[in-house]
């Protein structure tokens, strides 16, 4: 199948899969939805959150399920046991915070507030993806790249590895505040090539470099567009730009998401207005969809003029639908007055581009003749549920890194991990081309003065990376003993004075385990007499989340709960649980101390898919990829054989409530 056909079909399937799965879930009764963590039932309305009149507080019994701050959800009356369409007619809300059994939501529609009376009961459901506009943009981006003369020809050449990489001028001297040979090399590449890719392994200052590149481009009076996968990443980059001395007046952002973290003084951009006359010497930050606005508009106008209706899917066979869509797209693209990239922006900086699918990246790549990609394909890949069907796993960053080795630079000095923490990921994921900076190399963890004897060797400065074995079996997405131990370790560290926001994070592959850890944490804290206010503050600040949510962040101490020990689960979820990228992200968040908790069964397991699969042809390639993936964990385990501590008995004593706290004895 042609390159574009694969992506079109994958996009189509992804949308249909996600939406049908979410809608199907909503058809189930509330109790069942709650059981799978996809709904919170028995929410009791408490009132508004002080002066924040659009923020409303609810209490709920039990665990927060899959919900987290920042999630979009639907709020509906509990009285009628809503399901299906009744839920879809509920109020769209955004979760502001969840701590303990208290949730604060942001209700976008003011008028809905009238129905919120204290004591009334509500249900909160996951909101099915209604990203028709985004889907339409991605579909349009593919059509643009496939059929247009400009910018299509350039985009097609880029994807095929045939983009000429002529030098745009003499290299500029790297800025004085940019140290490191690789960083300077990457800077030179970004400033002189129409296409450059900078791989930023964990803590290597990728965002710092991005800010220096952006500053230099702005100094040249250029129009710069900054895009990333998430608003959080965009905001981080804007902070880095301000820190690099770029005046906020030269920065703007098309708003979206949680903007509390945005640096002050940044211009609030209206997407449509900005693109009508982009100013020089100005950086506009936005999502990839924002960057596609000029083309969306042009194609939209063209579509409204065409006599050909958008093809309906219903009542057609698949091929006829795709044929009709192709015809429609050709006509819309050829009839559109497309803006030329040169008139829109001079350079696009694409951060986190290893998490961007090809269609997503095309949205941004179309808006400027030059592009600098920042990413790390050894970290998490794009989320793409249809990838397996159409082999569309590869991110734009991975593609460019593979097809343009001459413009690819890997930053190799990490300012995050100390020497020991850096060793394994360096060897396993970065071809031994990663080393700690002098400032990070000898960084060690100083444990609180008094810790229980059982934790003393684990929290000692050396070894910095340890394995805590908990010998459980048959656990799937939740391992109670492990959760208890992780919670107890965290509590010990926080009681010892660690800052819950800055110093510590707890990670797990699944939300169920992070929920279990939070519950265990609350329970243990209660038995130790921790004041409720203090506990709420800890729970509000402490990051207990999945690995995927932690990418891009760091803490002094990371607790990573591997969780699974059930052979069936390890077989069934093998491609997720043994994904080397996820393990890489998990073990490279720590500055001083990494504590991995897991059952030996996780490490010893050989997935059944490997023992039964063929090893020739395509099957063989898949088997070898799977074997390489499980070997990442196995090698890490073998590497840590002299750094492992069996705390099964202690975890069991915690479970039975017999564990003694020597500090309180």
């Amino acid at each position: 199948m042609l390159e574009f056909d694969r992506h079109k079909r994958a996009l189509d399937l992804e949308f249909r899969l996600q939406r049908s799965e979410a809608l199907h879930n909503l058809e189930r009764p509330p109790a069942e939805r709650a059981e799978t963590g996809r709904a919170l039932v028995d929410l009791i309305y408490q009132g508004r959150d002080g002066r924040r009149t659009s923020h409303h507080i609810f209490l709920f019994p039990g665990q927060p399920g899959r919900f987290r701050a920042g999630d979009h959800a639907l709020l509906s009356f509990a009285a009628a046991d809503p399901a299906g369409a009744a839920v879809l007619e509920g109020y769209p809300v955004e979760i502001d915070s969840i701590a303990g059994e208290r949730i604060i939501v942001f209700l976008r529609r003011g008028e809905a507030g009238e129905e919120l009376t204290p004591g009334s009961r509500w249900i909160l459901d996951e909101r099915p993806p209604s990203w028709q506009p985004n889907y339409q943009r991605l579909s349009n981006a593919l059509a643009l790249a496939e059929y247009s003369v400009r910018p299509g020809s350039r985009l097609r050449a880029l994807l095929q590895g045939e983009l000429p990489l002529l030098s745009l001028g003499d290299p500029e001297n790297p800025p004085a505040d940019l140290a490191g040979v690789r960083a300077q090399e990457a800077f030179g590449m970004a400033m002189t090539r129409p296409l450059a890719a900078v791989q930023g392994p964990p803590g290597t200052g990728k965002t710092y470099l991005l800010a220096r590149v952006a500053r230099a481009l702005l100094d040249q009076g250029l129009r710069v567009v900054l895009c990333a996968f998430t608003h959080r990443a965009i905001n981080n980059a804007l902070h880095a730009l301000v820190d690099a001395g770029v005046p906020p007046a030269q920065l703007g952002k098309v708003r979206g998401g949680d903007e509390r973290d945005l640096p002050p003084g940044i211009t609030d951009l209206n997407r449509r207005a900005y693109w009508q006359k982009p100013p020089g010497g100005f950086l506009a930050a936005m999502t990839v969809y924002g960057a596609f606005e000029p083309y969306s508009r042009a194609l939209g106008i063209s579509a409204s003029r065409t006599t050909l209706p958008y093809p309906e899917r219903d009542g057609r066979d698949e091929q006829s639908f795709w044929d009709a869509l192709d015809l429609y797209n050709r006509r819309v693209v050829s009839g559109a007055r497309l803006p030329q990239p040169e008139t829109l922006a001079d350079v696009v900086l694409l951060d986190e581009s290893s998490q961007l699918t090809i269609p997503m990246a095309l949205c941004a790549l179309a808006c400027a003749p030059r592009v600098v990609l920042f990413g790390d394909h050894a970290q998490l890949p794009p989320v793409n549920p249809a990838a397996a069907h159409y082999d569309t796993h590869q991110s734009i960053f991975h593609l460019v890194a593979e097809r343009y080795p001459e413009t690819f630079v890997r930053l190799n000095e990490t300012h995050r991990m100390n020497a020991e923490l850096c060793t394994y990921p360096g060897e396993a994921f970065y071809a031994s081309d990663l080393h700690p900076s002098p400032a990070a190399r000898d960084r060690t963890f100083a444990a609180p003065d008094e810790v229980p004897a059982v934790y003393a060797p684990i929290l000692a400065p050396h070894p910095a990376s340890v394995l805590v074995e908990v010998r459980h079996e048959g656990q799937a997405q939740e391992a109670p003993l492990e959760a208890l131990l992780a919670a107890d370790l965290a509590l010990t560290l926080l009681e010892g004075g660690l800052d819950p926001r800055r110093d510590l994070a707890i990670l797990a592959p699944h939300r169920r385990q992070t929920s279990a850890i939070r519950t265990a944490f609350e329970r243990l804290a209660a038995t130790r007499g921790v004041a409720r206010a203090r506990l709420d503050a800890w729970l509000g600040d402490l990051l207990v989340d999945t690995v995927d949510r932690m990418q891009g962040q760091e803490r002094d101490v990371i607790l990573y709960s591997l969780t699974a020990s059930d052979p069936g689960t390890l077989d069934h979820e093998g491609d997720f649980l043994f994904l080397p990228n996820r393990f890489n992200v998990a073990i490279t968040r720590a500055r001083r101390k990494l504590i991995v908790l897991g059952s030996p069964h996780y490490f010893r397991h050989v997935p059944r898919a490997l023992t039964t699969a063929g090893w020739q042809g395509e099957d063989g390639a898949l088997s070898r990829r799977r074997l390489d993936a499980v070997n990442v964990l196995k090698r890490w385990y073998l590497d840590h054989r002299d750094r492992r501590f069996d705390l099964t008995a202690h975890a069991e004593s915690l479970a039975s409530g017999t564990a003694k706290n020597p500090l309180r004895a």
Binding site: A476, T569, L610, N631, Y637
Partner: protein
């Protein structure tokens, strides 16, 4: 007394052994093999190996055989031959050298006296390789009877290589297995693979898991009765233990994860599970690997087992179900009404590597077949097959179930679709695959004798009719059922079954184990050897009789309960 860990242990472990089997195979002499299927497999393995040795003899001029004598003597002779630079060594023995010593020392730390050694199929000299012998060394080759290489085979070679590395001080880095892509006895092919990626799994097994496992007492090793336990040589041990302890795995459908979840809640026995209260059940449901539905079903199962009532969803291969059968419990599978049953089968031509597909619709409609006469017609047949499925989908408005007879048919269909990606037909393929039901597995669950797939159409009909008419209580064995049905209907039992029963008695196999034991023969029927005329005659007989047996059973069922048969049809 020292116990040996051999390449065969490694092969079996990575292939299919549970912890208890792994323990027994190291510590106990294996009972003599009486399974005709295994005997035939072994014989074919020997022939394949001999054929490849003959081939090597033609290529290298000489193959040194190291058979005969004790293992220690053979190890010494192997070492001497390698030092002397023999080109090919057949059946050389590696006693592990320093690598084996390291492992043995580690095991000794746990109070174990283990030897690590292996009897290789072939050691091939590699010139230009630096080793303890000089500028030559050896690499390991193992001859297998399979069509393609598998990980357990690679692990076995990796184990030999580790022992060899201890002897010659270096590893070649690559190993190979000889496989037979066209089936055993056909064209041979050498499949190479890198050994380094296999090292972590092997090390974890040899240095971590195995010593830990072997240091345990047998009664400390966890067991769990599962469907495949019915084939195990030591099934009696676990079943006896389970019955004595009233273990939870006696409940059909109980997965290890469920059992652990129940145990964590203090529920250790079948009776305890039956008597569990709702709050406890809810707590277990939250913790169990699969959802609350499964936990509740297992509870209901336990409840009725305790009370002696019937429960559905059991398989003859399920050790728990066998236990039930012996106590005259009834097995029944619930049926889904008002759906058109569609049979899909895919016939393959292993030599040409092509497949032809057809659809058979059950009911009043005549079967439709879309058959490729030769390889060139494969694409056309596949396209017609998809047309057929599209029509079924359209006419039934999606109310149909696709039955198939296993054999990875879903994967094969997907492969065909990748090969001939007919535009617009992906949805049909996905729909078809999404609705597939493994008929053989269903039949095994719903019938008291393991029906196989000689005549799939009849089996589907049988399955659909059997819904409400299985007798209660059921006889304890498959043959018992046939006899019971025959008696009920007043007709003579099927002749084929009688013959098989006599044959089984002659060779000392329990009659109820006969169909299971004979299964390998069915797979191997294309490779009948003169050496085993009796066995192969039996296989032929079984094949021929199977259809007759099915038809007889169907007739018997109709006679036994005509009204209910009609009702099931309606």
């Amino acid at each position: 007394m020292a116990h040996s860990v051999t390449g065969l242990h490694i092969y079996y472990y990575f292939g299919h052994l549970c912890d208890y089997q792994a323990w027994r195979t190291v510590f106990e002499k294996r009972p003599p093999i009486d399974d005709p299927g295994l005997l035939l497999l072994l014989e074919q393995g020997r022939r394949n190996e001999a054929a490849w040795v003959e081939h090597l003899r033609e290529v290298h001029g000489e193959v040194l055989s190291l058979q005969g004598g004790t293992m220690e003597e053979r190890a010494e002779r192997t070492l001497a031959a390698m030092r002397a630079g023999a080109a090919v060594l057949h059946n050389g023995v590696l006693d592990g050298g320093p690598a084996g010593q390291t492992l043995a020392t580690r095991a000794a730390g746990r109070g174990l006296d283990l030897r690590f050694r292996g009897e290789t199929d072939l050691l091939i000299r590699v010139d230009g390789m630096q080793s303890a012998f000089g500028t030559w060394g050896y690499r390991v080759v193992d001859v297998k009877s399979s069509r393609t290489g598998r990980l357990p085979q690679f692990m076995q070679v990796a184990y030999y290589d580790r022992l060899l590395e201890g002897v010659q001080g270096a590893s070649h880095g690559r190993g190979s297995v000889i496989v037979f892509p066209d089936g055993s006895g056909g064209r041979a092919q050498e499949e190479f693979f890198d050994l380094e990626p296999l090292a972590p799994s092997l090390t974890l097994f040899l240095e971590e898991h195995l010593p830990e496992l072997l240091a345990r007492k047998p009664e400390e090793i966890a067991y769990h009765l599962a469907p495949h336990c019915a084939h195990c040589l030591w099934n009696d041990h676990c079943r006896t233990r389970a019955e004595t302890e009233r273990d939870l795995s006696l409940v059909p459908g109980m997965q290890p994860g469920h059992r652990r979840a129940f145990r964590r809640a203090g529920i250790d026995t079948l009776e305890a599970l039956a008597g569990v209260t709702e709050p406890v059940l809810e707590a277990v449901a939250r913790e169990a690997p699969s959802g609350g539905d499964t936990v509740r079903r297992l509870h209901a199962q336990a409840l009725t087992l305790r009370d002696g009532a019937a429960r559905p969803r059991m398989s003859l291969r399920d050790a728990g179900a066998l236990w039930l059968l012996e106590r005259n419990r009834v097995v029944r599978e619930p049926f889904e009404a008002n759906r058109l049953a569609v049979l899909v089968d895919l016939a393959g031509d292993a030599v040409a590597g092509t497949e032809s597909a057809w659809v058979v619709r059950v009911g009043d409609h005549p079967p439709q077949k879309f058959h490729a006469g030769d390889a060139r017609e494969e694409e056309l047949a596949f396209a017609r097959f998809l047309d057929g499925m599209a029509r079924v989908h359209e006419r039934t408005k999606g109310r149909f179930t696709v039955f198939h007879d296993g054999g990875g048919l879903d994967r094969r269909l997907e492969r065909l679709f990748e090969k001939y990606p007919a535009e617009g037909r992906g949805e049909i393929v996905r729909e078809t695959i999404g609705r597939m039901v493994d008929m053989a597995a269903l039949l095994r669950r719903s019938f008291l004798f393991p029906v196989t797939t000689a005549a799939p159409r009849d089996e589907v009909e049988l399955y659909l009719q059997a819904g409400g008419i299985l007798p209660e209580p059921a006889p304890a064995t498959p043959l018992g059922l046939a006899t019971h049905l025959a008696e009920t209907a007043g007709v003579a039992p099927d002749e084929g079954l009688a013959e098989l029963t006599e044959a089984a008695a002659r060779i000392g196999i329990r009659p109820d184990a006969l169909p299971e034991r004979l299964e390998p023969f069915i797979a191997l029927r294309m490779h009948a050897e003169r050496r085993h005329p009796f066995w192969m005659a039996l296989v032929e007989d079984l094949q021929i009789r199977r259809l007759a047996r099915l038809q007889t059973a169907l007739r018997l069922l109709r006679m036994a309960a005509p009204e209910r048969t009609e009702a099931a049809h309606a």
